[in-house]
Amino acid sequence: MHHNLWKFLNLIIVGVVLVGLIGCTAPVAPAATAPETAPPAVAAGLDACQGQSLVLASMTDQYVAAFRVLVPKFEEASGAKVTLDELGYVDLYQKLIADFVGHTGNYDLMTVDIVWSGEFGQNLYTLPLDDFMARDKAELQLDDILPVAWTLGEWQGTHVAYPLAGYANVLNYRKDLLEQAGIQPPTTQEELTAAAQALTDADAGVYGIALLGAKGPAVAQDYMAWVQQYGSRLLDDEGNPTLNTPENVEILQHFGDLFSYAPAGATDYWWDQRETAFRSGNVAMMEGWSIARAGYENPDISSVVGNVDLTVAPVKEGMEPQFGFGGWGIGINADSTPEQQECAWQFIKWVTSPEIQKEWLRNDGAPIRRSTMTDPEIVAEYPWMPILLESFEKGDGDYRPRIPQYSIIQDALGTHVNAFLVGQETAEQALEAAQKQVEDNWQ
């Protein structure tokens, strides 16, 4: 009896193996082709959304609060059902990729980080919006959107996402601490380093600057900001990675020096811990995305209310000022049905329209339009808006390469810059290793 049972089991296993092998040899997914985009020739209004249901995947940045307020209003205005799915940075990226690669079309609308533009564009994950934009040109007021904001989703001449939330890299500082020490807000990197040193009093628990040092995207992106501020680049003119130039090594040294004036734990800081350090009052200065600015005036989360001001991010002495620009676009899934895509486009048009933008901003959104940033009411409420505008006008949206290989560069820098900061590698070794890792994985 046992003998027969074994025979039967063997038979089943052989069967499964065969089925498995046959199944494995089938192509995994149909080859990608350019999506057929033929939006109706006539401009459609919100009524195109009647009876449609959309899922919006949003990063849990500050602006998600604005979505929470505005999505129900859009539903009311359009008759569509919009489900808001809030996801952390890494989760959002991985879920979107899984959705795109599997062609499952779960998410119709998604927030697209500026650095994903190249990858999403090259792989045709999101719908190019150019046809929609040409069709509805009359109502879009495209000129009102700041030129740099178009880097939020532009890839090789097409728009794979539409500008949604523009961030400027700015320098936040504690007015009170700088005044006490008789220090002017730094305008160059040299002044920044000197000020950070002067303001650090480790015994009193006060530090000059808060930085991102944690292994992964955090340290990689902060280092890239410093590369930009010293006027250097991570790619050459042909687009090849050049992480380990002598210039970049020197910048990494400067970046490492700054950590002597940061809280001891800074080599383990993500964005949220850097924010906590600044908001808890232990740190005099912090470079960071402008979207966090309003939060410093909120007594529930900040103990530095009324003591913070901001200025443009300092650049190397003598360098033509250019400021790091980042933020989010909003894209439409290429796998959604044409009806859903039409309604998703209506949502984008609606949320980025000048009328809604003020409400977007007041609920923790971030600006993209000149008219919003110069609106007298808005400027009265957010006195730092003119500095933001200045940063946007000289904004550099490409300091983090918006290319399909971005995640490879970020991962390599994320590991090796951190290794340098904790003393595992020298600056040369770190960038040498990062360059090699990027070259090995470049495809």
Binding site: M1, N4, L5, F8, L9, I12, I13, V16, V17, V19, G20, L21, G23, C24, P27, V28, A29, P30, A31, A32, Q94, I97, V101, E119, Q122, N123, L124, G213, A214, K215, G216, P263, A264, G265, A266, T267, D268, Q273, T276, A277, S280, N282, S407, I408, D411, T415, H416, N418, A419, L421, V422, G423, Q424, E425, Q437, N441, Q443
Partner: protein
Amino acid sequence: MRRALRGEGAYLLMLLPLLVFVAAIAIYPLLFSFRISLFKYRLTDPNQVQTFVGLDNYLRAFQDPIVLTSIQVTLIYVAGTVLLEMSLGLALALLLASEARLMRGARSLLLLPMALPPLVVGLVWKSLYNADFGVIPYYLKALGIDVGRGPLAELNWAMLAVILIDVWQWTPLLMIIFLAGLKGLPLEPYEAAFADGATRWQRFVHITLPLLKPTLLVALLLRTMQSFKVFDVIYATTGGGPGSATTVLNFHIYTVGMTFFDMGYAAALANVLLVIIAILSALYIIILERQQL
């Protein structure tokens, strides 16, 4: 019909759902992963091109410096967690073996960490360890100890810090296993030893330990296998850092698969890990079978 439900037919019929289940969720993915490990296959490639490369991915694995260091790191992690957990687990089991009410209460309390998801445990410990806001550095500093960048960010301490998290969570499991082993020991040898005037230590070394050997072996293998597969705690606390100090093999596989989407290579690496764990499970099964004899 009735006849079919008797004897061998019944066996087969009742086994069938399980076999189909196992085939669908275990054997098929296994074959798939073996197959793609022979291909150059990038998940995000819009044309989904798969090029057959033979054993190239495996050869690449053994030349990849990150893989070699991550295997080293994994071995340190496994040795550290298993040794500490085994000794602490045994000590706790001996301490709490009595049936007094206090001991029973203590035993239940000690089981709590096991009930928490490792990801949550990792996040909690990450805040406890935080150099500037964390509780642990706060008290260490109060004692005059320099915590530097914090336990998770110091090159020399990060590994110990993550090992301690694992020890905190999984020592109770070993305690339970050892307790069960202790309860099952025969009393006669102890009575004989007592009559011969053996000391406590002699009884422990010459009776308890040898009798407990099978239990110790099972526990050792079980924890070793689990430790090799560690991912969540590392993901939640250090992300493999500082530098590559805590990049265990499984975390590296995750990076290759979920950051580079280099599925062929990730599958090859996963299969290497699979072989290591398969050898350990084979040992485990052999020992279990011997015990039954």
